[in-house]
Symmetry: C2
Subunit: 207 residues, 2 copies
DNA sequence: GCAGTTACGCTACGGGTCGTAGCGAAAGAT
DNA sequence: ATCTTTCGCTACGACCCGTAGCGTAACTGC
C-alpha cells in the first residue's frame, strides 16, 4: 500500500462502517488499466469508477481528483524496486537502472508519471505527494548503492551531502529521458554504456 | 517560427485570402501567457482564443488541438539556444546547460513541456512533432560541442554513433529531472558539479 | 439486540469545455 | 468584378466535472 491517500479525519475513527480495502485496490487497479487503454488525457473518473465496480462518489471520498489518484496508482508500480547486491558498483548500478527502466517501459507508468509531474509544477501539495511516494523511494536506492560501494572501497567517503542528489538526478533523468523523450528502450546495451559513462566520464577511453 | 503548424492543403495555394501571420503570433503568445497563469490542465482553447483576440474557430483551423498548439508555443522558447565557444569542453558544457536550465526555469516551459511529452507517449505524430521542433535542435548542440572538443584534442574521435544519443539523454535528462522533479534550481554551482561528474565520472576525486 | 456512526450505491443536477456547423463579411488573387 | 479562402460570430449536442440527496449496508459500543 502507498499510504498517501486521504486519512478519513484527524485520527482515523474506530466507529462506523470501515472503508473497503477491496475498493481501494480495485480503484487503483482500474486506474492503471484505464491509463493503459486511454492514456492520461482521456481518462475520466467516471470511467475508472465503472471499471472498479464502485460508485463515482466512493472514488471522490478517497481522492481529491485525477492527479492524486494517478499518483497513488503509479506509485504502487515502484513498490518492487530494490537494489541488488551484485558485488561491484558497476553491476549494482546496472541492476537498479534496469529495474527502473522496466517500470518505465510499462504504458501505465509512461503516460501517468510524466503527466502528474507536469501537474506538480503548479501544485506544491501534489509535488510533495510524488516526492514521498515515488521519488524518495528511488533516492534511497542510490544512497544504499553508494554506501555499499564505499564499504567495498570503490568510492571515496563523500563529504558533500548534495552529491547524492546530483547522482540521483543524473541517473533517473537519463533513464526517463531515454525512454519517454527519445522513446528508445533502455535495454542492457544502453545501460552498460550509461554505467560506463557514469563511472569514468567522457574522458574515459571510448568503446 | 517553428514550421510545424498545419499546411493549409497539399501545396499552399496562392489564391484566396491569406492567413494572418499576426494571428499566428498572437495565438502562440497567448498560449504561453495562459500556460503561465493557468498551467496546462486548466488551459482552454476558448480562453486562448479570447486572449489572442481571435475567434475560437480560427484557432481550430490551424491546430488540431491543445497538444499541437502547446508544442509549437513552447518550441519557440528554444529558438534562442546556441552553444557558446568558450575555449574548453567543460566551459562549453556549462554554458549550454545553463542556457537549457534558464529556459526550463520559465513557468510556461515547465508546465507545458512535460505535459506534451506525457501526451506523446500515446501519440506518435505528436512525439515526432516534439522531436523535430524541440529535441533535435538541442541534440545538434551536443554534436557541435563534441566536434569542437575533438578538434581541440580534448576528446578522442568517436566511432560509435550512438554515443551522442547517450550523452544527450544524460545531459537533458539530468537538467529536466533536477528542475522539474527535484524542483531545485540548476544554478551555477549545480552545473559545475554536474559538468565535473560528466567529465570524470564517479571515480574522479570528490570535492 | 439496539442505537449511533460512517461508508456505500444510485440518481440527478448545474456548470464548464469540447469540437463543429452555418452564416455573412473581409481580404487578397486573377 | 469575380472567385477563393479566411475571419468573426453564434449556436449547438456531447461529454465530463464535482456535489447533493437519499435509502441502504456494515461495523461499534452500550
Amino acid at each position: 500500500m502507498v499510504g498517501g491517500m486521504q486519512s478519513r479525519t484527524p485520527a482515523s475513527r474506530a466507529t462506523g462502517r470501515p472503508r473497503s480495502a477491496t475498493a481501494d485496490a480495485a480503484i487503483l487497479a482500474a486506474t492503471r488499466e484505464a491509463l493503459v487503454e486511454l492514456g492520461w488525457s482521456k481518462l475520466t473518473l467516471g470511467d475508472v469508477a465503472t471499471r472498479a465496480g464502485v460508485a463515482k462518489t466512493t472514488l471522490y471520498r478517497r481522492w481529491a481528483g485525477k492527479n492524486e489518484l494517478v499518483v497513488d496508482a503509479v506509485a504502487e508500480l515502484f513498490d518492487e524496486l530494490e537494489i541488488p547486491n551484485r558485488g561491484s558498483l558497476a553491476a549494482d548500478i546496472e541492476g537498479v537502472v534496469l529495474q527502473f527502466a522496466a517500470i518505465l517501459a510499462r504504458p501505465e507508468a509512461r503516460s501517468g508519471l510524466m503527466a502528474v509531474i507536469a501537474e506538480s509544477t503548479r501544485d506544491d501539495a501534489l509535488r510533495e505527494r510524488i516526492r514521498t511516494s515515488i521519488v524518495e523511494r528511488q533516492k534511497r536506492l542510490v544512497l544504499e548503492g553508494r554506501t555499499r560501494a564505499q564499504a567495498r572501497g570503490e568510492l571515496p567517503p563523500e563529504s558533500d551531502p548534495t552529491a547524492v542528489d546530483l547522482i540521483f538526478d543524473v541517473v533517473a533523468g537519463a533513464v526517463v529521458h531515454r525512454t519517454l523523450v527519445s522513446a528508445e528502450p533502455a535495454d542492457e546495451q544502453w545501460v552498460r554504456a550509461f554505467t560506463r559513462l557514469l563511472l569514468v566520464g567522457l574522458g574515459g577511453a571510448a568503446g
